[in-house]
Symmetry: none
Subunit: 215 residues, 4 copies
DNA sequence: TATGAATGAGCATTCATTCAT
DNA sequence: CATGAATGAATGCTCATTCAT
């Protein structure tokens, strides 16, 4: 995840990181407020308490700022969704826990994810007119890969229907996205409760559970 | 939807509509190619074979062009998804038919929906920096309302779990979106087949169907 | 010289040319005042009484403005230096007349030629950091070609030493340039008088004319 | 020329001179490659293997770097052109020797002189938008003064036509410049041979040497 | 109404220069 | 003195919009 470095961060490195993070945080706020195209580098710099030029000392251009921000948040988001090692609970319970963590994290950065979702964070579609896609796709692919792993694991454990290809991964992604986005509009909702609903729908669908055993 | 008019379209009205449609088609192509912000009014005009000024004779501004385009395509899309009157089949079969029509329609306009989805067509999130939202939300709301109606009907018929609020509507929307977007990347897939998968997942989820009765 | 056109200039064409010329004249003034890099497009536009955008409607970028200006003035300058058809006078007299016309023309645009000479108008050297050279060289080549023609003609008429290559053309160019540039600094000097000096030096050199017959 | 100093250069002074020269050499390369305006202080520093700040420890600003470079090269160039003390040969032979040395020196620094000549090294014209001119003119004046001295000496020795003012000095400068610049484009040419041609043209002109005595 | 050139506010980006370390 | 990141004024260029023809 992090670039491996043989030496401890010097004071200078720390200073660099400080500026870089200040700018990324500022960008998160400003992008969320005005959207990518509405955000002026000057605004970001002002929010970060730096000069315009400083932004360009840390990022090649505006696109790069967005890219870095998406990269950082994705990484954090993926970390939340990663399985907790050695969770002894059953499949559904473990999945629910992971989804709950994901939803909780997203809630922290809700404004940001509103734009992020429009710049291909969950995409599946290539947002046109955007950077060479390569970087973006790599990010999206990480999610898909994670979903895929999860789904394959579930299939292996005979917990999920063995559907071909990315079908289930997409289904999971779409379901998550729908509830992530709605959590932006809704007032405070308990992530655990919502995670239970999401996982339940993902696993058992919306159909009326008639004479079925207690789930 | 259309302004109600008491008189039949004159030749002049027809000429107007011709230009208007040419521009909308051009906009669809150019937006899809370059994204909203990357598309210049001049490009759209060129594609439409008109002058820039003509675009402004038909639309107030650039946002209006996108709005009108989204409006038109949404309307058509909604029409596809509308229930076929007096379909005697069971709930699942009817739903599958509607989804199949929807998927088939989207396939026709796939490039366009790539942007559309980034401008809140399915959103649920307010894309910041975008037109006054009011117009956009109205459009999104139509979908949500349609999903809601469908879901409520399903609940009423005791076919769907009676979950509170928009939960199921969102779930349906998210599931649909996931498969619509993926249909952009995938090669040719039969809409009917895909519709069956979508509806099946929506209704019965991804969990392994163990000793359950044949559905 | 001018692009051949099958139709007479419409009123619209005339309007275009008006703007274009206004901009070129403005550029001449501003470039002369502040140098190429010191000249802001905005200044040029202001001097021309147009908006900034208008400059860009007529020229691709700042370089293009300079290029067009150099092109125009070179063309005019070449026209001045062109031989007057059917001049019955002797070689030296004819050459003097041409040089006189050239000096007179340059005097009209003296401020401009001050920069022009720094942007390769007479160059022989490729000014580094400048536009792809191709255009510039073409211009410079025209002069060299003209000098070359003149010189070859002189050699053919047994009036000039038959030195190899471009030697004499360069010599002529260098001599002219020296006196053109000095005419920027000097007060009013009669072009005819100066032309006589230039041609005399070019033909007979600076050495003391001892027992030589009257030239 | 150099600030007069009463004490021998200490080790510290030597270190200073080392940096200073490294920077000047770097500047020569970078200016030649990209032109004055295209050259960034950062590039020069990088080429010199120093930090940006170091450049500013040795020169007040960018203009100063160019000025110092021009100054240094001019000085060296003047030194080459200076008469060799007590040369017993005739005027023409001595002049040829000096010109040959000059051409040989310029050949060493050909890339540099390409820009130098655009920044008024030989100019006679004030390049607008450039440093206060005063410094530049001083440099140019040195050349002119040298040419003037040479020319006056020649006139005094009854070797050159006694033309008024700077006429002959200019003629000499222009002739030299033409051949210096052309030496940038041409492949290897023997400086001595070229010097002979230059001096011959300067002294005797381009006219056919008819019944004249052997020169 | 169609046309398309003119308009000019707006913004990303550059780079000479400073200064704390 | 050397260093190199921070600074921010400066400017080329874009493009939505207007309007005279």
């Amino acid at each position: 995840m992090n670039r491996v470095s043989s030496r401890p961060p010097s004071r200078r490195d720390e200073a660099r990181a400080l500026f870089r993070n200040a700018i990324l945080h500022a960008a998160e706020v400003v992008f969320a407020e005005r959207g990518f195209h509405g955000a002026r580098i000057q605004d970001i710099a002002a929010h970060a308490g730096t000069a315009v030029g400083t932004v360009y000392n840390h990022f090649d251009d505006k696109d790069e700022v967005l890219a870095a921000l998406l990269e950082a948040r994705s990484e954090e988001m993926l970390a939340q969704f990663a399985p907790a090692g050695g969770d002894p609970r059953a499949f559904e319970a473990r999945l629910t826990a992971r989804v709950a963590r994901l939803l909780a994290y997203v809630r922290q950065h809700r404004e940001f994810f509103a734009i992020a979702s429009e710049h291909g964070l969950f995409a599946g579609s290539a947002s046109p007119g955007a950077p060479p896609a390569s970087r973006r796709l790599r990010r999206v692919e990480k999610f898909r890969a994670l979903f895929r792993t999860l789904v394959d694991e579930g299939i292996g454990a005979d917990e999920l229907e063995p559907l071909a290809g990315d079908t289930l991964a997409r289904f999971l992604g779409g379901t998550l996205r729908a509830f992530i986005l709605s959590s932006f509009t809704d007032g405070e909702v308990d992530p655990s409760r919502q995670a239970r609903i999401v996982v339940d729908l993902f696993l058992h669908g919306a159909a009326r559970r008639r004479a079925r055993r207690a789930r």
